[in-house]
Symmetry: C2
Subunit: 225 residues, 2 copies
DNA sequence: ACCGTTCTTGTCCGTATGGACAACAGCTGG
DNA sequence: CCAGCTGTTGTCCATACGGACAAGAACGGT
């Protein structure tokens, strides 16, 4: 059925499929058979690459964390701090956030996941703090305590993302507006500065192949053994 | 085994047990047998009260929303706005938040749950906006747009709650500090005002009986049929 | 051309779940 | 005291899951 693949390629394929399904169905509901069907192989094959369901999930989430943060670092260091800030604070693609929200709800009963989440969150705060620092150095903004400002803004971004993605209470425009306004007030920027410098491109992708996370995966189909 | 109970009492008992288990294991993992074991009855009895698992979950979540918001309204109207604000912005008990976070991750595949969440969120924002309004009227604070301030602070509270409860990155003291500082800046209060007026008592309870949510439910026990 | 490696499949098993149902038991009204 | 209602139990069933394993098929080195 499925053509024989390079082991590494198949692994990545399985991890990408797992992330798609987690975004759609949640960590707890994704079964090995689901993943196999999404990839187009027999469910026994999954076990050939991942000894247990838990390990699959753990590696999939690790891959997500890794992919989300890779590369941006030096790039962000070169662009104007105001632009970098506007980019960082803009809302993330929906399917990504579904995975994060699911991870939050799963973290307190999965220590590995909690560790990965903690590392990821610290990374996010650190990068944002660095942007704020550069903003203050450039004289275009002000901050007494970049770390504290970063922590507050990170929390705000997550909270707004919940309102936007999970509850669907506000649209993307308003989500950005809420965060931008708060950031401008906090960092001594004039109102509207951030919206004006928002770059056009969206942030990174997930899967190993070029397709976005939720490319496949229509309404949950029936499965067989 | 279990003594014959008043139907309404047994219903409430089942709903309370369900919420306890959802806080511990998540919506997706709670089984009818789990609930029955938690209550101390046979799993067939659950079906006598709730025709299907989905309905049980839906009603349990409705009960949670209802219990969380009931009563406080007129009470909040009588206390000093600064004190009411400090109370409203302080972090909610942990087990409650686990249910909310789980609900967020479940909402996009459960329309009823999404509707309940939306209503709840709107209620929260409305109440906070009312407090901010009274604060401005009293002259002790200022707000150009109470609704916008309420939306931003609600998002911040949720985001901080994630950092505090889900990721366990910050403690309760720091969680309150982050929110209080942001609120004070936004509403023209002097730094420290909110921390100084935090009331002593915590917010409401859930279950029908007096016990807190996670009273029972140690580390997940083995079950039998 | 052969042969070992390993990617891949098909099938089996024990377990757990949601749901259905008949029998039992305690309460209430006549 | 009896009959009916209903809360409660125990048991059964079809399904689906994670995991295990042996057999098949493609690939690579010699």
């Amino acid at each position: 059925m499925a053509t024989r693949l390079d082991p590494a390629a198949r692994r990545d394929q399985i991890l990408a499929a797992t992330l798609r399904l987690v975004a759609r169905d949640g960590f707890a509901r994704v079964t090995l058979r689901d993943v196999a069907a999404e990839v187009g192989v027999v469910h026994g094959l999954i076990r050939h690459y991942f000894p247990t369901r838990e390990q699959l999930m753990a590696e999939a989430f690790d891959a997500a964390v890794l992919a989300e943060l890779e590369g941006d670092e030096e790039v962000a260091e070169r662009v104007e701090p105001v632009e970098a800030l506007a980019d960082w604070l803009t809302t993330t693609p929906r399917d990504h956030y579904f995975v994060w929200i699911d991870a939050w709800s799963e973290a307190h009963r999965n220590p590995e996941l909690l560790a990965a989440l903690t590392r990821h969150h610290r990374d996010c705060e650190r990068r944002l703090a660095r942007i704020i620092e550069r903003l203050a150095e450039s004289g275009r903004g002000a901050s007494d305590d970049p770390a504290a400002d970063a922590k507050m803004l990170t929390a705000l971004v997550d909270g707004v993302a919940v309102q936007h993605h999970a509850i669907d209470l506000i649209g993307r425009a308003e989500a950005d507006r809420v965060v931008y306004t708060a950031a401008e007030d906090r960092l001594g920027l004039e109102r509207g500065t951030l919206a004006a410098s928002r770059p056009t491109a969206a942030r990174g992708q997930w899967a190993a192949d070029a397709s976005p996370v939720a490319a496949t995966a229509g309404p949950r189909a029936d499965r067989r053994d």
